[in-house]
């Protein structure tokens, strides 16, 4: 399947992830978020930036634990609050939704 941007079809897999990661743009991110019924705020975009920077540096998506700790540290929350904040931003979870919107590879081994 795919999403259409300016008449071009960008290929996505059955979970809506980009098949070719180089296709990512902020515009595409917005479309991916729409598909998840997520309204992007500054907090959302801040998280997307964090994810993309992390991936650039390490070539892996951050584990949810890493993400949660980063948010807790930045916002002065405990781990539980940070987790709830994260799921507030992305109700179906950082793996499923945040990484998708950020254009990172689809995480495996979450079973």
């Amino acid at each position: 399947m795919g999403i259409v941007i300016n008449g071009t079809t960008i290929e996505t897999d059955e979970n809506g992830y980009l098949v070719n990661l180089e296709d990512w743009t902020e515009e595409i991110a917005g479309q991916l978020a729409e598909g998840e019924e997520i309204e992007m705020s500054d907090e959302h975009w801040s998280l997307v930036k964090f994810l993309r920077n992390y991936y650039d540096e390490y070539q892996i998506a951050p584990a949810v634990k890493v993400l949660t700790k980063a948010i807790a540290a930045e916002k002065g929350m405990d781990k539980k609050e940070a987790s709830e904040f994260l799921y507030g931003l992305f109700p179906k979870g950082p793996a499923l939704q945040a990484c998708k919107v950020a254009g990172l590879p689809k995480p495996t081994g979450c079973v």
Partner: protein, 417 residues
């Protein structure tokens, strides 16, 4: 036919039916699977066929075709993905087919893991409810139970997941664990039926899994954590090997002996049997032959359970009961299989306060692992890598000789000076 591979072919026998069965049957031919309908043991294939012919769900036909294909090619064709419900990061095992072009009816086949009641105790109302909802939204296939302890509702489209969950949740069911978080637990029958149970494992199971419900649904640890709750050291839940946190009932005082029943046992079975089947099998020689009878030296007993198992009428666990906590069990991945090791030799486990105190301890333990563990490292691997002593220090637990089978046999440590 090969030219029909864009549509659903009639399984392996090459029939040209498209998106349909063969003849009047709903299902395509599955000669390999059919072999497994023979023989006296109940056949999962027969069960699947009956269900499919009755409900005529395309997903069932697709799954049977793909399974048949696997039996022929000796390869698997499912791949992972990410499907979940609102607010949860785990609990649905996503399965997309790698050959959906070949078998489109098997394109998706997700499983919902559902937490059962502790001890796998049911009444028929619960089960009928579960079945009705599952037949409505899913395939009607289910596993009772998954090895970790879940009810596995196998086979649902992504489109139906949220609604199915809502219906189940309404009836008291909740998703089970997956990913790097708390997993669904298992309890043995416990005090509901077993005379050996040394604590209320059913209640502790419920308490613990409610305590960690957030981390079960929204995994965020290094890797998975599993609890298993056995009522006694027979460990009927295989807790020692199949859980990170094995809670095993035990006792501190003397085995309760019914002398009359002991005599009856000996009269029935003989002194040779007493020696060969009981005395000679005590691992620490706590039992001696004394004038044709048995004498148990409580201080040498390690609560292995054998003599109680051999003489159930005559012997019972002591009165001062509680739990031992063993940690670090896991299977073979990476470092090889590990049995759990004893961390807390004894804790009382009778009251709500006892259970709360235990939860606080487990929180400490998990925090330490969260801070010190590597990605995808089980807590047992972390303890081994970092050191048991460093773990005990880090969690604030006392050193106890029961935590080791022996003190070290090498002098290679730097002592205080």
């Amino acid at each position: 036919m090969e030219e029909n591979k864009g549509a659903s072919a009639c399984g392996s026998h090459g029939c040209s039916h498209s998106n349909g069965g063969c003849g009047e049957k709903f299902l395509n031919p599955t000669p390999m699977l059919d072999e497994l309908e023979k023989g006296p043991w109940p056949s999962f294939v027969s069960g699947f066929k009956t269900l499919a012919e009755r409900t005529k769900k395309p997903m069932l036909r697709g799954v049977m075709d793909q399974l048949e294909y696997s039996y022929n090619t000796k390869m698997g064709y499912w791949k992972g993905g990410l499907v979940t419900v609102d607010g949860y990061g785990a609990g649905v095992i996503t399965r997309y087919s790698m050959i959906k072009d070949k078998i489109p009816e098997a394109a998706e086949f997700h499983t919902m893991r559902i937490q059962p009641p502790p001890g796998l105790h049911y009444n028929t109302a619960m089960l009928r409810e579960l079945c009705d909802i599952w037949e409505e939204y899913g395939s009607g296939m289910l596993t009772l139970h998954g090895q970790t302890g879940d009810i596995m509702l196998q086979g649902i489209d992504e489109a139906n997941v949220q609604e199915c969950f809502d219906k189940l949740n309404e009836k008291g069911w909740d998703l089970g664990g997956a990913g790097a978080g708390m997993r669904t637990a298992v309890s043995c029958a416990g005090p509901a039926r077993c005379e050996q149970a040394c604590y209320d494992n059913l209640e502790l199971h419920l308490h613990a899994l409610r305590h960690f419900v957030g981390q079960l649904h929204r995994p965020e640890w290094n890797y998975k954590i599993k609890f298993k709750f056995s009522g006694c050291p027979n460990d009927c839940t295989n807790a020692i090997m199949r859980s990170d946190l094995a809670v095993i009932g035990t006792w501190k005082d003397a085995i309760q002996v019914d002398e009359v029943a002991v005599k009856e046992w000996i009269e029935e079975k003989g002194v040779d049997a007493l020696v060969n089947q009981v005395i000679n099998l005590c691992p620490t020689r706590a039992i001696s032959l004394e004038d044709g009878g048995m004498k148990i030296d409580t201080r040498d007993c390690v609560r292995c359970m054998h003599c109680l198992n051999a003489m159930p009428k005559a012997l019972s666990p002591g009165k001062e009961r509680g739990i031992s906590l063993l940690m670090g069990g896991k299977n073979t991945l990476k470092v090889g299989v590990n049995m759990g090791s004893l961390i807390i030799p004894f804790m009382k486990m009778e009251t709500e306060e006892d259970r709360e105190k235990f939860m606080e301890l487990v929180e400490e333990i998990i925090d330490w692992w969260d801070d010190n563990g590597l990605d995808h490292e089980r807590i047992g691997e972390t303890i081994e890598r970092v050191g048991l002593r460093q773990f005990l220090d880090g969690v604030g637990l006392d050193v106890d000789i029961n935590q080791v089978s022996r003190p070290r046999d090498n002098p290679y440590f730097k002592a205080k000076y």
